[in-house]
């Protein structure tokens, strides 16, 4: 506090008092300068002072709009680039549709016909619909209650039970394939021969896109039979065990018409078809 008190007490430069004392000792009068030289010196000082203050004010007035302008320019650039990206994305979508129709037409011309459609269905390139089942898998109640970040210690890592894991979804999907499903999607993500279901932290990723519970699995297949076969299979029993032991919620229902979307892109970059048609498996 003494520092502040010192500043408060000595707000006037001590030099003035000293100069006054000196002058008093020499018998001169204080106050404004009398000689021309002193007056000029004072004027020079005032010129400097006024200059500094004026330039400072002018600079502040110039700088403020410049900063605002730069900000606006950045915002404009972001908007422009975002619009560009949107346009390019719609271009990609349009071209993909184009490629799709052309491929279908070409395959039909070369005698593919129903075979081309079959390839499209099997590869996931075309959207399909038909009878099937809808399987909704969700975390246990307690797990999702803790998942809102109220206690990060409980939700971090893989320690807490009652949470649906990537391997659970893998088994469920595997079981569906094994039970005769012809097309499967999870939360609107079509599964293709190249799809991977994996985990990153707490999230389940399908084709590198994170999913949010509840996980809705749509499978096109022979409705009731598919459902029964799945529930009787090892993977169906596994899911049932998860329900029983960890409180994971799963509901399975037979649907008359299930719509499974097409995969966003079916691209093979390096693999070449072999001359003698040997089968290669991807897992």
């Amino acid at each position: 506090m003494s520092l502040i008190t010192n500043v408060m007490d000595h707000s006037l430069d001590d030099g003035y008092a000293e100069a006054a004392a000196r002058r008093a000792a020499q018998g001169e009068a204080g106050g404004l300068p009398k000689t021309l030289r002193a007056k000029l010196g004072l004027a020079a000082g005032l010129v400097l002072t006024a200059l500094v203050v004026t330039v400072g004010a002018a600079q502040a007035r110039i700088a403020a709009p410049v900063v605002a302008k730069e900000r606006q320019e950045l915002i404009d650039r972001i908007d422009r680039e975002t619009a560009d990206a949107d346009r390019l994305e719609s271009d990609v979508d349009k071209l993909r549709d184009d490629v799709d129709t052309r491929r279908r037409a070409a395959l039909r011309r070369s005698g593919g016909g129903s075979e081309a459609d079959l390839v499209g269905v099997l590869s996931g390139a075309s959207a399909v619909h038909g009878p099937g089942i809808k399987l909704v898998v969700n975390d246990a109640k307690e797990a999702s209650a803790g998942g809102d970040g109220s206690n990060p210690r409980e939700t971090s890592g893989f320690s807490d039970t009652g949470r649906v894991r990537d391997r659970d979804m893998q088994r469920v999907v595997n079981g569906l394939w094994a039970s005769g499903a012809e097309a499967v999607s999870i939360n609107g993500q079509r599964l293709t021969a190249l799809s991977a279901i994996r985990a990153a932290g707490d999230a389940i990723l399908v084709d590198n896109r994170p999913l949010v519970p509840p996980y809705t699995v749509l499978a096109v297949g022979d409705g009731q039979r598919l459902s029964t076969r799945f529930q009787d299979s090892a993977d169906g029993l596994y899911l049932h065990a998860l329900e029983e032991n960890f409180g994971i919620r799963a509901t399975i229902s037979t649907e008359g018409d299930v719509r499974v979307p097409s995969a966003p892109s079916v691209i093979v970059r390096t693999a070449q078809p072999n001359a003698e048609k040997t089968e290669k498996g991807t897992s």
Binding site: I4, V7, M8, S11, L12, D13, G15, Y16, A17, E18, A19, A20, R23, G30, G31, L32, P33, A38, K39, L40, G41, L42, A43, A44, G45, L46, V47, L48, T49, A50, L51, V52, V53, T54, V55, G56, A57, A58, Q59, A60
Partner: protein
């Protein structure tokens, strides 16, 4: 009279010439302005107290500006520029306030 003329010349020069402030000096301009205001209020109060001295005024003004800019420059180099400029502004602000209060007492007798 000459002093008042100097003041006007300074303001007009600052407005007309609009000196291009070098980018190196720019961060120290606000601090320099506060230091200049401190010197001006100090000089005004000394004048009213009847102990004004032109040499003290000019020297205090110059040293105020230079020292304030130097402290901020040093702070920038050390990575505490913002804190040090706050310190300079606080000290000079207190001085300006108490000098203004003294001037007010002189002018209004209150």
């Amino acid at each position: 009279m000459i002093a008042v003329l100097g003041l006007i010349v300074g303001v007009v020069a600052g407005l007309l010439v609009r000196p291009e402030v070098p980018a190196v000096v720019e961060p120290y301009l606000p601090i320099a302005v506060v230091a200049a205001l401190d010197a001006v209020f100090g000089g005004l109060r000394a004048m009213l107290d009847g102990i004004f001295d032109d040499k003290v005024f000019v020297v205090s003004f110059l040293s105020n500006v230079v020292v304030a800019a130097l402290i901020v420059f040093l702070g920038d180099k050390l990575g505490v520029g913002a804190q040090l400029s706050t310190g300079v502004v606080v000290v000079l602000g207190i001085r300006i306030f108490s000098n203004a209060a003294a001037i007010r007492r002189h002018v209004f007798r209150a």
